[in-house]
């Protein structure tokens, strides 16, 4: 039974009530579509510069390309953002910072890996100080290039938008609590081993 009496006051099971309300709002009332739409136009990348593609990341928000037209506003603190662009190489020292930043962000959150170094190491594929970012955080969209031009970053944002709307990534997070479509990543202890020996 969902309802039980507590001191003569009938109290619903709060979890069940919440789930039902969620299902009603997201399922019947199509609020999920609104949420997905809102998320696509409110992708705020967090200010985490992992490497030199940051130069093109900055150029993407420059007047010529102005990614703010898609509603993407680079923001300072991870707590208020929902989007990481991994700008190039992730070194072993930076991997821990990347992981911590990712975990500090609230769900639903998305990741774009920018540049050859963020895909398979690029020029540094055999370097001793590099990790592959997709081992550290789950990645949604990959951009080739070294560095990718700002148009490619804009294209990635548009592609991510399409992906969110098609797969209902934001609203499904509200229903299910996590995303299933992502590859597993390394446990945080492995990434940050050097940090706390």
């Amino acid at each position: 039974m969902d309802v039980k009496a507590v001191d003569k006051v009938y109290v619903g099971n709060i979890n069940v009530a919440a789930r039902r309300a969620r299902e009603l709002l997201l399922g019947k009332l199509k609020l999920g579509d609104v949420i997905d739409w809102a998320t696509t136009f409110s992708l705020w990348p967090v200010h985490l510069l992992t490497s030199c593609c940051g130069a093109e990341f900055a150029a993407t928000w420059s007047p010529r390309f102005d990614a703010e037209q898609y509603g993407a506003l680079p923001w300072v603190a991870p707590r208020q953002t929902n989007f990481i662009i991994i700008e190039g190489t992730v070194t072993r020292k930076m991997a821990c910072a990347l992981r911590i930043t990712y975990e500090q962000m609230p769900h639903p959150k998305f990741v774009i890996a920018m540049g050859a170094c963020a895909l398979d190491g690029g020029l540094f594929y055999n370097s001793y100080n590099i990790v592959r970012p997709w081992e550290v955080v789950p990645v949604d969209v990959y951009i080739p290039g070294c560095p990718p031009p700002p148009e490619a970053v804009a294209r990635a944002i548009i592609d991510l938008r399409r992906k969110i709307r098609e797969k209902k990534l934001a609203s499904r997070w509200l229903i299910e609590g996590w995303r299933h479509d992502r590859d597993p990543v390394k446990p945080a202890d492995d990434v940050c081993k050097w940090w706390r020996p």
Binding site: V34, A38, F41, E68, Q69, N82
Partner: protein, 341 residues
Amino acid sequence: MVLETILYLIAYPPLWQVLILGFVGALLVAMVAIWFERKAAARVQRRIGPYWASPRLGGFMIIVADMIRYVTQQVIIPTTVDKIAFLLTPVAVLVVTILPLAFIPLSPHELYWPVASMEYSLLIALALTTLPPLLTVVLGWASSNKFSVIGSLRESYVITAYELVAVLAILAPAASTLSFNIVYIVEAQQPVKWLAILNPLAFLAAFLAVLMSTSAFPFEIPESEHEVVAGPYTEYSGILYALNMGGGYIRRFIYAIIIALVFLGGWAPYTPGLDPFTGFIIPSLIVLVKASIVVLVMSFLRAVYGRYRLDQALDAAWRLALPLALLGLGWSIILAYMNLI
């Protein structure tokens, strides 16, 4: 009897002011202010700014999208925070921010604005506007984050500096019109004896003080992101952050309304009539438009100025704004003495 009471409660005008104008209006105002700030900065910076969600509305829907996103996003409560303070303060910030609206009449008729006849409306409104910064200090303290603590410390430094200036400068009109009643102050400025023109020193001081108190550029010090990330708000996510951010913009707008009323003549060139349209809607709209212009000017400054260092801002408050406010007050007294207003 009961029904009547309920009806009276529902129709009680101050409730409507706080609910409709307060929550809905303020939300809209905050969104317009954010949108304008982003678009104006984008214009000066030779780019487009928010665009794609609704090209015809100039990308205004992007702000709506931001709001929906914040509301539906996960709220993270870190384990180290003081939970009760962490959760309740943002709500308190918004409530306290909107409170002054209940004491600011936008039309001279008691029928529509019961506070219109209140003798000390300016004093009460001013007193209430000084509350939210105290809560900002609580925000930072509850977050238990080093950057938040530095941010709220900065906020408390800034409070002590600007509060006196703000009160002195905004009370200068009261001194020159010999009344704390906002309606009386506005009526005294009819038709174009605006105190911004008659007493520019006090107006400038008030403008500076408002810039400092709402941490607008060039005094955006408590949230100065290049040292303290997001200042007191660093740990806030989701709807809690939206409340904080909206609160900041609403506060700026309320200050702007006060400035529009006491310095820019409120509904001044217009003489309100008695029916709801000429007596309520038109004067309110005039005041809101004037206040919007003040907010827009404040937003525009973001595009031109950087930010001062903390000690320089305090220096400016004590050594530039305070003498200005005192001079303005003196000038007001002269105005009152000479019967110029």
